[in-house]
């Protein structure tokens, strides 16, 4: 395990560098192939609308995968993530244009959990089009 961040150097309330992640229809097709989740609500506009969605939506697991990058980029080694959980509160709607949507992720150290294990809890906020798309988004991270 090679976390870049030292537990001793981290204070509760410290903000991690925020990031924005673009997502287009092409991104969703690529993610569908990589993840094996071919649910048509993630690529077929007609189908998505038939089941009551405003448009094609991103996979919740795609949003979850992007959000944790704020933590893994900060800490260096993704193996430092000991726990990670989210609630899917709102879908990320992805229009069929060149812009698509943007997932904006911010995070802060909410608590130092264990001095011996050097673990902290990081709380994440993920938004798209001004709406919170993940709730209760938290990771436990083991620092150096």
């Amino acid at each position: 395990m090679a976390a870049k961040i030292s537990y001793a150097d981290v204070e509760t309330g410290a903000e991690l560098p925020a990031q924005s992640f673009p997502v287009t229809r092409a991104t969703l097709v690529e993610y569908a192939g990589a993840s094996g989740d071919f649910n048509p609500i993630h690529w077929n506009e007609k189908f998505a609308k038939e089941v009551g969605l405003p448009d094609v939506i991103a996979h919740g697991m795609f949003t979850m995968a992007e959000a944790i990058r704020v933590v893994t980029d900060w800490v260096g080694d993704p193996a430092a993530v000991v726990e990670y959980g989210v609630r899917f509160t709102k879908p990320v709607v992805v229009p069929n244009d060149d812009e698509g949507a943007v997932i904006e992720v911010s995070a802060k150290v909410a608590a130092k959990l264990d001095d011996e294990a050097r673990t902290v809890r990081v709380d994440l906020v993920a938004k798209s089009a001004g709406q919170k798309v993940l709730g209760m988004s938290r990771a436990v991270v083991k620092l150096a």
């Binding site: 395990m1 090679a2 992640f21 991104t27 690529e30 993610y31 192939g33 990589a34 993840s35 094996g36 989740d37 919740g60 697991m61 795609f62 979850m64 995968a65 992007e66 944790i68 990058r69 893994t72 980029d73 260096g76 080694d77 993704p78 193996a79 993530v81 000991v82 726990e83 990670y84 959980g85 989210v86 609630r87 899917f88 209760m136």
Partner: protein
């Protein structure tokens, strides 16, 4: 229609092993746009103390969700699969998934609740490698939305 509470605690047989390949990890990392070399470069992974490339934290969902389908599509349980949405997801890691792992998943129904006519199903997937070592536990909460009123 509320689901049968007697299914709570039911454990399904372990899945056949899923062999994690380097190229599948690369494909996943590229799909999420993550250029961390620990996902694609074995030397970079070794520099961080890993025996081979590791997978991004959420990669394992593809494997645990496939296993959870045993539960979701259990005809005896009778969940309306067309109305299922993903509510919550949580992972608790013992170690990261890495290339060369042969992973099996054992799924257990943790709880069944009825909330405002929706069926809420919590499934725990325990993931072990070929030597029986625990890798990760996936907690998946699924919501089967109530059928629309006629």
């Amino acid at each position: 229609m509320a689901l049968d509470q007697s299914f709570v605690g039911r454990t399904y047989p372990a899945t056949d092993p899923y062999e994690v390949g380097r190229e599948k990890i690369r494909e996943f990392a590229e799909a999420i746009g993550d250029a961390n070399p620990v996902y694609t470069d074995a030397e970079a992974a070794k520099a961080m103390g890993h025996p081979d490339v590791i997978a991004p934290p959420t990669f394992v969902f593809a494997i645990t969700f496939k296993a959870a389908r045993q539960v979701i599509r259990d005809p005896q349980l009778g969940l309306d699969y067309s109305r299922v949405v993903h509510g919550d997801q949580k992972f608790a890691y013992t170690r990261p998934v890495r290339a060369g792992d042969r992973l099996t998943v054992t799924s257990t129904i943790e709880s069944i609740k009825s909330l405002a006519g929706n069926d809420v199903l919590a499934v725990r997937g325990e993931v072990h490698d070929q030597s029986g070592e625990h890798v990760v536990t996936a907690h998946t909460m699924l919501v089967a939305r109530a059928a629309e009123e006629a």
